[in-house]
């Protein structure tokens, strides 16, 4: 798609959308948002860039294949679900929370890391799907 407006806008939108996706990720525990939505917004940022400037340009922002994010995200989510079983008598996926709030992030706990894993997984899956479809077309 050749549009100078979209091209110019995509450059500004990429960091904005990424920041928004992080915002969604962090507020997700108590308010609408979370890892899945955040991950989708983040992948939209890259897809938009790819639309505006061609697939090559979109992929350029990724130093590695987005597929690599899948096992990383899965591992993070898996470990944070497993942690309460290792450390205490907690059952699978029990939330462990750091007792004091951390600035910007809020409460820190395993749920956040689980969400972060979901975020990475969603970014990895969505970008792999879209880049593969576009490349094959």
């Amino acid at each position: 798609m050749k549009s100078i407006i979209l091209k110019a806008a995509a450059g500004f939108l990429l960091p904005l959308l990424l920041l928004f996706s992080l915002f969604l990720l962090l507020r997700g525990h108590y308010l609408p948002g979370g890892g899945f939505v955040g991950g989708l917004v983040a992948s939209i940022a890259f897809v938009l860039h790819a639309f505006a400037g061609g697939m090559k340009k979109g992929q350029k922002y990724f130093p590695f294949h987005p597929g690599f994010l899948m096992p990383v995200g899965l591992l993070l989510a898996f470990l944070s679900a497993l942690l309460p079983m290792v450390t205490g008598d907690g059952a699978f996926m029990t939330g462990l929370w750091y007792p004091h709030p951390v600035p910007v992030i809020g409460m820190l706990g395993t749920a956040l890391f689980f969400d972060l894993g979901v975020y990475l997984l969603v970014v990895g899956v969505t970008l792999t799907i879209i880049f593969t479809i576009v490349e094959a077309a």
Binding site: F36, V125, I129, I133, A136
Partner: protein, 118 residues
Amino acid sequence: MDVIMALLIGLLYAAGIFMMFRRSLVKLIIGVILLGNGVNLLIFLLGRLVKGKPPIIAADAKVLVEGAYADPVPQALILTAIVISFGLQAFAIVLIKRAYKVVHTDDLDDINTREEEE
């Protein structure tokens, strides 16, 4: 509101199944998507509609009043179902793309040829 939702769900189911019965692969996928949306709305409806209230019980609430908050379970179920149907639909789209490339047709009837030859 409930009646409108029920009608809408019925419409989505009917349209989805109608589309699935057509012979075109693309219409099959459209039918699949419509059915997926219909069932999500059905979960939402059967979890009882509460207008304009979040699925959160107020921190100072002493008694649980029905209708003061929405049931969070259907929302969680729908979110899960949406994520799953997202994955399934992505797979389905790639599958029909691949099928078109290999079989060179969009017609479901022509996909059977192979079996009768054997």
